[in-house]
């Protein structure tokens, strides 16, 4: 009953190769306008800085030497990283409870609360910084209220210092911490907590031994996101930091736009990015033992 298998003489249609057209525009966009410019910027950072032209002849490492050798630049870098760490930590402490609540609440206000969390994100950087300006400035809302209630005589400096910048940055980036966390917490099987309780664990232990470790992917994602974004924040430090507070991004823009020293600006920007990448890498490595349990 077995017939001889007949080999095909007409070729089969090949869907895989036709599908490649789908990715072509995105690939082209990213290669031409992201990859190439980034390579280009690395090249430019290796050009000598001159006045009167965008850059000079030949290649040199002088810009990097300048950046790493200058106390002022290194100081600003350290300040920026420190600011990033502070902001990230505060966002985590404030954001985790909110995320936990939002992920697991069944209240009918859930949608509204989501709007509350999302709104800073969507409303606009300048608008938000502006709002903080009004709140924190010398004759801003907070100071006025405190004075009206007789709690202070002179206005407190809530602005034009790192405090004001930190507060505003936390406000800007808090949603970026909350949203990934919500996703991760929602994906944790609630039966695990119930199982732990049935085995005798109390509320605090359940949180410490079940919820917290299992939220690690979300915590990691949120922290990385907030840290990286804080490092490169520009508008907020400028608007709320005044002339005293300088972050690396401010220096970069200064070098580029105000002083027209492109190679130096490029070097500064790349050092900033490199520092951020290094910090993230160390963070991920440190968290590896926890991640190994999942995925």
């Amino acid at each position: 009953m077995t017939a001889i298998p007949i080999e095909r003489d007409t070729p089969l249609p090949r869907p895989r190769t036709r599908a490649l057209w789908l990715i072509l525009p995105a690939a082209a966009l990213l290669t031409v306008f992201l990859l190439v410019p980034y390579l280009n910027i690395i090249l430019i950072s290796l050009r000598p800085t001159v006045s009167g032209a965008a850059w000079g002849e030949g290649y040199t490492l002088a810009n990097y030497a300048r950046v790493f050798g200058d106390d002022y630049f290194m100081g600003v870098l350290a300040d920026t990283v420190w600011l990033g760490l502070k902001t990230t930590l505060i966002c985590l402490v404030l954001g985790y409870p909110v995320a936990f609540h939002l992920a697991r609440t069944t209240s009918r206000w859930k949608g509204l609360l989501y709007v509350f969390v999302l709104s800073p994100l969507l409303v606009g950087l300048v608008v938000r910084s502006f709002g903080w300006l009004i709140l924190l400035s010398g004759n801003g809302v907070i100071n006025q209220l405190l004075r009206d209630w007789g709690l202070i005589q002179m206005p407190i400096a809530l602005m034009n210092n790192t405090l004001g910048v930190t507060i505003a940055l936390v406000h800007v980036f808090l949603p970026f911490m909350i949203l990934p966390l919500i996703g991760t917490i929602q994906s944790i099987d609630p039966n695990l907590a119930l199982a732990a309780r049935s085995l005798g664990a109390n509320g605090r232990t359940v949180f410490r031994r079940v919820w917290l470790p299992l939220s690690w992917p979300g915590i990691q994602a949120g922290c990385i996101l907030v840290f990286v974004l804080t490092l490169s924040a520009y508008v907020t430090p400028v608007m709320l930091g005044g002339p005293q507070v300088k972050t690396m991004s401010v220096l970069v823009v200064q070098a580029l736009v105000d002083n027209f020293r492109w190679p130096l600006g490029a070097a500064l920007a790349l050092v900033l990015a490199g520092t951020g990448a290094l910090a993230v890498w160390l963070f991920v490595r440190a968290g590896r033992p926890i991640m190994r349990g999942m995925e």
Partner: protein, 263 residues
């Protein structure tokens, strides 16, 4: 309720208040009848919105922002949907790697991307005389948002529905038009709205890539605030807030806010 519970609730409400305070404040101030940005406002009035519409600088900036945002959204929709289709359905083992790649504009510091693009534009002679650089930059930044949301709705897509359509005689293009597209509409809409809002609000990128004589709304507002401190700025901000609110409401109606993806 126990004390701990009360404390926790208080904490949560404090954080929510923290998130909303500046925004609410700005809106309230824009309705101030008086001259200064004082709180509490001295009476309610819409005069500053009137002033806004007469301010030539702001109006022009608004038009530019709308133009750029519309272009970026459309471009991102087309490019991002195609990319999402490829990554979810045809990428095989490269899927995660491609996903990461498409998310890089989000991961890289915006200021760095802006600088890189700026240099590139000058190197290739495109320069910043035209709005081209701005359009490219905005498209680049909004692409990941569209991609993420469309990919999310494709991940959960039941392929057998498409197969059913083919078994009934529909060719691949018809299947896409009449079956796939309507069913991923939520992802498309969410992605598009996100792209629009993000582009409208972009600052760092616009700062570096704008040419002489052109400006976007955030930039204009920023400049304005350095010199003038009247409620016109608050009015501009409130318009932004209103736009956002409308967008969020639409998203909620169409898909529910829970389905918004953030990587």
């Amino acid at each position: 309720m126990t004390l701990a519970r009360w404390g926790a609730s208080l904490f949560l409400w404090a954080v929510y208040a923290f998130l909303l305070a500046p925004i609410v404040l700005v809106v309230v101030l824009s309705l101030n009848a008086g001259e200064l940005l004082a709180f509490p406002p001295q009476g309610l009035s819409l005069r500053w919105y009137g002033a806004l519409f007469e301010n030539e600088g702001f109006m022009r900036a608004m038009r530019t922002s709308l133009l750029v945002a519309s272009f970026a959204t459309t471009a991102s929709l087309l490019i991002g949907t195609a990319a999402a289709l490829f990554v979810v359905r045809h990428a095989g083992r490269q899927r995660e790697r491609l996903r990461m790649l498409l998310m890089t504009p989000l991961m890289l510091p915006e200021i760095l991307t802006a600088i890189a693009l700026l240099f590139f534009l000058y190197a290739t002679g495109i320069g910043t005389r035209t709005v081209t650089g701005l359009l490219i930059g905005h498209t680049l930044i909004t692409l990941p948002y569209v991609f993420m949301n469309v990919a999310a709705s494709l991940y959960n897509f039941d392929r057998s529905i498409e197969q059913a359509a083919r078994s009934l005689g529909a060719g691949p293009l018809t299947v896409f038009r009449r079956i796939t597209l309507p069913l991923i509409k939520p992802g498309l809409i969410t992605g598009a709205l996100f792209a629009f809002i993000i582009s409208f609000d972009l600052f760092n990128l616009s700062l570096l890539l704008k040419g002489v004589g052109m400006t976007t709304l955030p930039l204009q507002l920023f400049d304005y605030l350095r010199w003038d401190f009247d409620p016109t700025a608050a009015a501009v901000s409130s318009v932004s807030v209103l736009m956002t609110l409308i967008v969020v409401l639409i998203i909620d109606r169409v898909v529910g806010l829970r389905s918004i993806r953030f990587g």
